[in-house]
Subunit: 143 residues, 2 copies
């Protein structure tokens, strides 16, 4: 974490535990889920501190903040670019095994007045657990 020094920042115990928890975890937790995980090790930490550090760690490129459409932020200990899928029923988020489409922005070159910088792709679906629950009573009505 050479970057901390460069920015006159410190590696506090709180910051470290938050980073460790995220790195060991591939469930894309929300801030309050991270809060309760970290609190097992640091019972006096505050939610504000969790938010502040998640923002800083994102800026340093150590983690990713996932702002999936219309929902609570989630955080990803894997800082590399990849796509996600969200369960429309329970909100669970997983990685998707699809290589980032690096050329996608080029397809729009000259077709928009914007300077394109990046893109976000998010799949919507139903996770196995929720699919199973929906099976018995498909849709809402039943005979």
């Amino acid at each position: 974490m050479q970057q901390l020094k460069r920015n006159n920042m410190r590696m506090t115990r709180q910051r470290q535990v938050i980073l460790e928890v995220l790195r060991k975890n591939n469930t894309h937790p929300t801030a309050d889920e991270i809060y309760s995980m970290v609190r097992r090790r640091l019972p006096r930490i505050s939610l504000g501190t969790v938010y502040r550090n998640l923002e800083i760690l994102t800026e340093l490129g150590e983690i990713q903040t996932l702002e999936l459409s219309g929902h609570q932020k989630r955080f990803d200990g894997n800082p590399n670019k990849h796509y996600h899928i969200r369960c429309m029923s329970c909100g669970r988020v997983d990685d998707v095994p699809l290589a980032p489409m690096a050329q996608l922005e080029n397809q729009l070159y000259g077709a928009t007045v914007y300077t394109i910088v990046d893109h976000r792709l998010e799949f919507i679906g139903m996770c196995p657990e929720c699919s199973r629950q929906q099976q018995p009573d498909k849709h809402e009505a039943q005979p």
Copy 2:
């Protein structure tokens, strides 16, 4: 709007004006922008009514609710599927002239435990106005 009857719903003046305002507008306004546009015609309407109707009109398929990553909801009077681009500086949202990739979900078939239903693709960029302002001092430092 045959759908209203089918759902035991009424075409109130408020609902109608909200729909008209959105149909005449391609700027993808936020709820409070719609609120202030509608208030010119219906000064006593409340923000709650605007939200309630935007939700209903979305469910009826008359408009679209855009839940772009990490920002306020925006609303689109065009109910047909299409992608959007958002200015990372001012938040402006425009349509993107790229045909929806109907086959994208198929690429993941068998590669995820989810049942995939849909996808959201959103481009991030800089609109002409903001690009112009950034020109003088590119990035943050200058030689």
